[in-house]
């Protein structure tokens, strides 16, 4: 795939604007495109909008299906409950620990390894690459992994949720591809002539030139840690260590099971107000990531692009 620069993008746009739409078929086509794009926009946005308005509306009216486009009978009961619920704050604290410590560990493990694998003069490069890539396609399965972790004594500790997954092969590959393609080898040759070691070169030259890929990796790993509930479900049985997503599961889903007759009330809320709390919880847990999102959007797109380039 060829690299796409902003210049190319602009060229296409200018070019598109130059095309005059005179024929009837083109005008119909333009109309269909607008209708379809509005439809896509609404389908994506409406569920999100509904959660927002439901979180500040009277939950009885929401349950009767009377809240559709605008909030009705505005109240903030749900948010009040959420902000006084210690489980949520405990979950938040744990998640922040896992995101910060986990992502720091991810970068510390992934970046040096990616650098080593990017060196064309590294003799064992291909076998080591195979060593990593093979794990993408084959694994021992959940139970042996569980037993390995258990024999290491890591079950129900905060450690396992930080350590797991220290290095993701896909992320390792995109970091390697980036370093290989965007840092000119001349720099390395020059550094070597000056008697620079791999360590010095990595810290003084590669890392400062890799800000883009470091942001991408940080975001990929960070979002993984933020959204992860699976590892907490399987490897942690200590409620004090539960990340936010597990707390959410208790409040949002296990309580829901009660409502449909499957037993097990986990929340301490009355059923009438429980629903409003749910909407508030959804908002409170998603807002941080959505707040960061506009600032990091371009890095995400960049990450996808780097990942698509086969190295």
């Amino acid at each position: 795939m060829t690299a796409i620069t902003n210049k190319d993008l602009r060229k296409t746009e200018v070019h598109n604007n130059k095309i005059r739409e005179t024929s009837l078929s083109d005008r119909i086509f333009g109309g269909v495109v607008i209708i379809l794009s509005i439809l896509c926009f609404l389908i994506i946005l409406y569920p999100l909008w509904f959660v927002v308005i439901a979180s500040i509306s009277n939950s009885d009216l929401v349950n009767q299906g009377k809240v559709t486009f605008l909030p009705v009978d505005i109240r903030f009961y749900g948010y009040q409950q959420v902000f006084t619920d210690h489980r949520i704050w405990n979950g938040y604290m744990n998640t922040i620990i896992y995101v910060v410590a986990g992502t720091a560990l991810n970068l510390a493990v992934t970046m040096p390894a990616a650098y080593a694998l990017s060196r064309p003069d590294f003799r064992a490069r291909n076998p080591v690459m195979m060593y990593f890539v093979f794990t993408m396609y084959f694994s021992g399965g959940l139970v042996p992994l569980y037993m390995t972790i258990s024999s290491l004594g890591l079950i129900s500790t905060k450690w396992i949720l930080i350590i797991f997954v220290a290095v993701n092969t896909y992320n390792l590959i995109i970091a390697r591809t980036f370093i290989q393609n965007s840092i000119p080898n001349d720099l390395y040759e020059a550094a070597i002539l000056d008697g620079c070691s791999h360590f010095t070169y990595f810290f003084k030259v590669v890392l400062p030139l890799s800000k883009a890929i470091i942001s991408v990796e940080m975001l990929y790993y960070g979002v993984f840690h933020w959204n992860d509930y699976f590892n907490a479900l399987v490897y942690n049985y200590n409620q004090a260590n539960e990340p936010l997503q597990m707390v959410l599961r208790r409040i949002l889903l296990l309580n829901e099971a009660y409502a449909s007759g499957n037993g097990g009330v986990q929340g301490g809320y009355g059923q009438s107000s429980a629903d409003q709390v749910k909407y508030a919880v959804m908002i409170v847990s998603t807002v941080p990531i959505l707040c960061v999102y506009p600032f990091v959007q371009k890095y995400f797109e960049k990450g996808v692009m780097i990942g698509a380039v086969k190295g």
């Binding site: 607008i34 349950n63 042996p144 393609n181 959804m282």
Partner: protein
């Protein structure tokens, strides 16, 4: 890239192996943490997968139990869960690919056709958002939006006559696949379209000029210029998707499961968790997991082979 690396190595004056080792020890140190991690969390469990052929005993550990051969595989193949988990997994996978795969392509073509740049940017930004919603929140959104009573979207669908008045979209097994696949498309369509949008922006503008002179209208330009540009990307991604056909993600299925829809929602990965971890049938759980991994691996190798035949480049 590879050719480049080779010429660099070739052009350098020959050095002794000792020189390379002395140079490479630093690289080995940088690789060390990642390699150790992979060893412990990927290769040790692979070695431990022999538990599938052994009786588990607490004292003897993972690899010390009595050898029982195919006993646990036969137990799985002989149980009623074998066909139902396999079928559920295949159904969910197949529909995810069938419906979920074309969605981002169509979306990319639509977005690419929007002439107003502000609106284009707005649509793009909006369609990426759902990707960042966690699975737990997504599933609870499904639970409220499609609730049997008062669910805004289930009511809307009933109003349009898409589903019968009495339908319980969350509690009836027959709706499970639709809910799973539909919410999957909603969540990842925008994200997956990024790659196609990028490919579309690399279209040679001369092609448009030529087509315009030949009197092609916009629809014809989409069909004859833009779609062909996407074909290589489509092929590669399709083959990658086919490779993971038994890899139905645990996360969302597990959260969407309830006693009412279990008939359609018990897939292999959730079954492995239920029997292997929750009810501690370690050997049996390992056997079921190993079976899936082997099948997946075979699928992937075949996909890779097909990819090499068609596109000239494989994934491995």
């Amino acid at each position: 890239m590879k050719g480049n690396a080779k010429t660099i190595v070739k052009n350098r004056p020959r050095k002794s192996i000792g020189w390379y080792l002395a140079k490479d020890w630093q690289l080995w140190i940088m690789l060390f943490p990642a390699m150790v991690y992979i060893l412990i969390f990927c290769y040790v469990p692979m070695y431990g997968a022999q538990l599938a052929f052994r009786e588990y005993s607490f004292e003897a550990g993972i690899t010390g139990g009595k050898w029982v051969g195919m006993k646990y595989f036969n137990q799985y193949f002989g149980s009623s869960m074998f066909l139902s988990t396999l079928q559920n997994t295949f159904t969910i996978s197949a529909f995810s690919i069938l419906l979920g795969f074309p969605a981002p392509i169509v979306l990319a073509l639509i977005i690419n056709q929007i002439r107003n740049n502000k609106w284009k940017r707005t649509v793009q930004t909006t369609v990426y958002i759902p990707y960042f919603i966690s699975t737990v929140v997504l599933v609870s959104m499904l639970n409220v939006l499609f609730a049997k009573k008062g669910g805004v979207l289930s009511d809307f669908m009933k109003m349009l006559g898409l589903v019968p008045e009495k339908a319980n979209l969350l509690g009836q097994a027959k709706y499970f696949v639709g809910m799973y696949v539909g919410s999957g498309i909603w969540q990842s369509m925008g994200w997956n379209s990024i790659i196609y949008i990028a490919a579309l922006s690399s279209v040679d503008t001369q092609l448009y000029d030529a087509a315009k002179i030949d009197g092609a209208n916009r629809w014809q330009r989409v069909v004859h210029i833009e779609f062909p540009v996407l074909v290589p990307t489509i092929m590669i991604l399709l083959i990658m998707n086919m490779g993971g056909i038994l890899n139905v993600g645990f996360d969302k299925v597990y959260l969407m499961q309830n006693t009412l829809n279990l008939k359609a929602s018990q897939v292999i990965s959730t079954y492995v968790y239920d029997v292997g971890v929750k009810s501690s049938q370690f050997s049996f759980g390992t056997a079921v997991g190993l079976f899936t991994n082997v099948v997946n691996f075979i699928f992937l190798l075949s996909a890779n082979w097909v990819s090499k035949k068609i596109t000239g480049s494989g994934l491995m």
